[in-house]
Symmetry: C2
Subunit: 328 residues, 2 copies
């Protein structure tokens, strides 16, 4: 079993690499396949991974010709394509977003197509494909996409191509639309959603933080643990089980800021919640209000993808996985 992860230096890529190394392989079509080689591609070297003979790190620009041809070869069984310029980044640098989110996905599909045997491809897409009028209602498995960010449009175009290359038998692809990931480890970033992780992560680490949106603002979220499970489950699923529609909206849970903070208080105490200060930011509120927050995902649930049991599980998983069980 030879696996490639693009965008491997991101927090999801690194967590996925760690999970695959720890379990020493992946199930494919329900059959266990031990790991021979795990190739990690990113523009910088992934951090915090063990020194392991099964690991091979390739540092390179995914939007440069040849990079993907080196990364994916005839021995590749599964590719997890996580490399992306995220929402705010692709909005700020349109050319970079186009090159990485769309053109590199096209280049990857072309490389996969030229392999002697079609490999399995798991493409990380996003709820950012939804935008405009559809976000006011409940998103279902048949909601049409009207992206309102370049990131969303590029991901939606990528999904279409993954679907078509799969239909043609060039690759065995599956695209997962990921909810907002909470609690994201690391530092706050420039994403308009960063507060959804910050209001849990920073107080638990003993730091104060700012919530720029109202207490009734709701977010559709999935924990890093469940996302990693979902990526591996997507690789496992038999192609026939996925069927004609190769894009799967992952399940998640919807929580208001009030619910999130009440759960934080229940898990870690009122003093921890007091580290969150509300400072309304109209711009961020407007962006977040433009996102869908209510989803029904019967197809993914039927295919065996799992949401978190509730927000308590999300907070507790973060404490276990990122804080060694200790809160400040």
């Amino acid at each position: 079993m030879q696996i490639v992860i693009t965008g491997a230096a991101g927090f999801l890529g690194t967590k996925l690499a760690r999970a695959i190394l720890a379990q020493d392989g992946l199930a494919i079509d329900g059959e266990w396949r031990p790991l021979q080689r795990l190739k990690l591609l990113d523009i910088v070297a992934p951090q915090g991974l063990p020194d392991d003979p099964r690991l091979e790190v390739q540092v390179g620009d995914i939007d440069q010709p040849g990079t993907l041809k080196t990364a994916v070869d005839a021995r590749t069984d599964v590719v997890f394509h996580l490399a992306a310029i995220v929402s705010a980044g692709a909005e700020a640098d349109f050319d970079l977003g186009t090159r990485v989110n769309l053109e590199a996905t096209m280049a990857l599909l072309d490389v996969c197509r030229r392999l002697p045997e079609p490999c399995r491809l798991v493409f990380a897409s996003s709820v950012a494909v939804y935008g405009g009028p559809v976000v006011e209602g409940t998103i279902t498995d048949t909601t049409h996409v009207v992206p309102q960010t370049s990131y969303g449009a590029q991901k939606a175009a990528g999904e279409l191509l993954v679907g078509d290359y799969t239909r043609k038998g060039f690759v065995d692809g599956r695209s997962l639309r990921l909810p907002t990931i909470v609690v994201r480890p690391g530092k706050p970033n420039k994403a308009a959603s960063t507060w959804a992780s910050s209001i849990i992560r920073e107080p638990l680490a003993g730091d104060t933080t700012i919530c720029p949106v109202t207490r009734t603002t709701a977010m559709f979220v999935l924990s890093p643990r469940r996302v990693i499970e979902a990526l591996m489950h997507a690789a496992d699923l038999p192609s026939a089980a996925v069927g004609v529609e190769r894009t799967i909206q992952l399940p998640g849970t919807t929580h208001t800021v009030d619910e999130m903070l009440a759960t934080l208080g229940a898990v870690a105490g009122a003093a921890v919640v007091d580290r969150v200060r509300f400072e309304p930011d109209a711009e961020i509120q407007a962006i977040v209000d433009g996102w869908a927050s209510h989803f029904e995902t019967p197809r993914a649930l039927k295919l065996g993808f799992r949401p978190d049991a509730g927000f308590r599980e999300i907070v507790e998983a973060h404490i276990e996985d990122e804080l060694d069980g200790r809160t400040a």
Copy 2:
């Protein structure tokens, strides 16, 4: 008013050029704009057009670098992007379909983006974006797309990019999903839908023809006249009227083979209908059965797009436009 038509040697491109020349301009935002220059781009020179000082023909490969930069320049007000490798062609030659249907659309958007002022872009998409499970029901303005041809996937990806470039203010784009065009002038081609035109066109011209599908097979169609009207109307519509969703499913009418032939008989007599012989072709039947045939298009109707009044109007328009009013 300076206009560019890509794919201008196709029957739609040539008809559109003729219509624009005849009316000497286009309405834009409801205001009449006289024609200064009409630039026609295609891989072969368009035929049957008048010798006209306003016309400029550019023969070139749209998938070669530089072709689009020459075609579209700072003086361009409106681009009609009709160039495409159609369904069967893109299925047979995947690389060519990708280059023309997707990459040339990306290149065109990039050229438009670099103009000093955003031009208006009318992109011809297709009902081929619908496929898989959705075609069994009625297609509405919010049906999600699951293309089952490369042509459909490439058109759907193009729509997303036209939408995003428009949102960014790089171009003022509108994508039209065209129904199957009936009665298509010219010769039968390799399209699985070619019979829908042949069973009207050939008998009216005095020739026998074969219908490879059952009498109850239904098709969602629009006449060449209405498509040309729709393309010009799409260029006219104020951007705000189109709104956030830049893709518009055009209206059409749905007819079974039986209805089509009954209308043909009513217009041209039973002897003409007798020139159609039924020879079932399971392969063509299967392809056609995989297409959506029932549509509701309230948005397009509200925006002022018109279907044909009925199949009789379609047949009569063909006799007027292509046969100088005479049937054989």
